[in-house]
Amino acid sequence: MHFTKQVQDLRVISYSRLNPRHFVLELLAPDPLPVILPGQFAQVLVEDSPSTFLRRPFSIHAVDVAKNTFRLLIQIKGEGTRHLSRLHVGDSLNVLYPLGNTFTLPTTKEVLLVGGGCGVAPLLILAQFLNQNKVHPTILVGFRTKEEVSEIEEYAKYGKVLITTDDGSEGEKGLVVDHSIFNRESLEFKKIYCCGPDAMMKAVAKIARLHRVDCEVSLENTMACGFGVCLCCITPTDKGNERVCVEGPVFNINRLKW
């Protein structure tokens, strides 16, 4: 077991296209994987892309220690992710990992995971990890539409899955915060873990505050290095400007200036 950061050429050993905007890469490491904890991310070098100069950060979606692989769930946004979407099984990818801090273990069993869009990515490894610690979370995942709903069987292995879609084509209609679990006088959870667009996380944080429930969020940010040296990825916290790539990406909402 080792905790060292790696910069390695990994091999794409499987590629699944979930829908037109999302795909999952499974990457095989040449040496035994270092310990990877839920919430950590990887910085991926996008080779052969004229417009992608810096690495691109992606949460680690799942780890398979037996196979010595981990997975990334990627949403196509711009040039970098489009290039990655054109990879093939067998291609190699230069990756810097694992980076950042982790979600903390809950002191309760009433746990809710909330994810929207590609923000669902770190929830799978988190659910896996919670299970190992005997916690079976409720997992609320939001998608645009039925066609984008994916990997539900994966999440279902580790907890009860709730779904929302913007258009109501599957699960409840609306955003994740519109889900009926939040529509009650008291909340049945004592801890929330959340990852997704800023606006979504802020809305969830508001609910958490309202119900005085502990809540951790995984922030996005524009990163140049990903390992703490450029100071480009800061977020204001109770300790001043902190680095999302080292002191984060996971923050307890109490520490954020939200």
Binding site: T4, K5, Q6, V7, L45, P50, S51, T52, F53, L54, R55, L96, N221, T222, M223, A224, C225, G226, F227, G228, V229, C230, L231, C232, C233, I234, T235, P236, G240, N241
Partner: protein, 306 residues
């Protein structure tokens, strides 16, 4: 052939090789311990130290550009006290030169910081950063007015007894005037270049990308400008030059050395590949072997222009 000698002597300091890392792009060095043996580098320029704690600028601080990036970090650091007590003990025994990048908003601040760093036994040199585009003096960046450059260098020279390097801004009409001004003030070494002042816009949101609107451009995009400035300054002053700006690989590094740099700094490349600096040192050695060059020193300024 014998192993080439990569060492260089800069203002009396012996560097085992000409590869060092640029301030603000290498933290305090310890972030790289997972990736490399720091002893393989000629030196490390740690990030800017100012008189007091600075929070730096707001978010966002970074924008990617064609073959480069803009940043507006704004000298975030915990101040010289914190550096001396918390950081220095942690890094003092690295097996390479640790050079401190000294920044400030006033001459007094530069002097105060330099004086403190002067006391640190294992810091053989400082690099006076008079070129940060985010620090202003009378509306203009400090390092763009030759007389100001001379003055701040001379004042620091009075209190700083070891090797004094001055890092110049490229955002000037005549880089040679600034270099001469720094030498007049007592600079032992000239470092160039810092970032070019640039800007990025998000056309969809019709907003600037950086919270500060403008920021500093670095990366391969600026290499041609940096090389030109190293070449011009090399012809204009006789002190050694440390060259940087967009160096990504050994070939880039050798170009700077040929243009007149005695050593080079690896900056933005560290973000793309944390091991870039070590690979560059290895690549320079391979180049020297291939070209049968025994001593690094014979390459400095050895551009053939006849």
């Amino acid at each position: 052939m014998v192993t080439p000698d990569l060492s260089v002597n800069i203002a009396g300091m012996h560097f085992k090789n000409p590869v060092t890392t640029a301030s603000g792009t290498f933290g305090y060095g310890d972030e790289f311990l997972d990736f490399m043996d720091l002893g393989r580098l000629g030196g490390i320029f740690v990030k800017a130290v100012t008189g007091k704690n600075r929070d730096g600028n707001g978010y966002p601080r970074m924008a990617e550009t064609a073959s480069g990036m803009l940043n507006s970090v704004g000298l975030q650091n915990k101040g010289v006290d914190h550096f001396c007590h918390e950081i220095y003990p942690r890094i003092r025994d690295f097996n390479t030169h640790i050079i401190v990048n000294v920044s400030g908003s006033t001459i007094e601040e530069y002097v105060a910081v330099a004086e403190r760093i002067n006391e640190l036994e294992k810091i053989p040199a400082i690099e006076l950063n008079i070129s940060c585009p985010n620090v202003k003096y009378g509306g203009m960046a400090f390092g763009t007015i030759p007389s100001m450059a001379t003055e701040v260098t001379a004042e620091v020279r009075k209190v700083y007894k070891k090797v004094l390097m001055v890092k110049l801004s490229p955002n000037v009409t005549s880089i040679t005037d600034l270099a001469k001004a720094a030498v007049d003030g007592g600079a032992d070494v000239i470092t160039l270049i810092n970032t070019l002042l640039g800007m990025a816009i998000d056309a969809e949101r019709r907003r600037p990308i950086l919270s500060t609107i403008t920021g500093g451009l670095s990366g391969p995009a600026i290499k041609p400008v940096a090389l030109r400035m190293v070449w011009q300054v090399h012809k204009a002053v006789s002190v050694p030059i440390i060259g940087l700006g967009g160096i990504m690989n050994a070939t880039d590094a050798i170009e700077f050395i040929l243009a007149g740099a005695s050593a080079i700094q690896v900056g933005t490349a560290n973000f793309v590949d944390p091991v870039a600096s070590v690979k560059i040192a290895e690549g320079i050695e391979a180049y020297m072997k291939r070209h049968k060059i025994e001593a690094m020193t014979s390459l400095i300024g050895a551009l053939r222009t006849e």
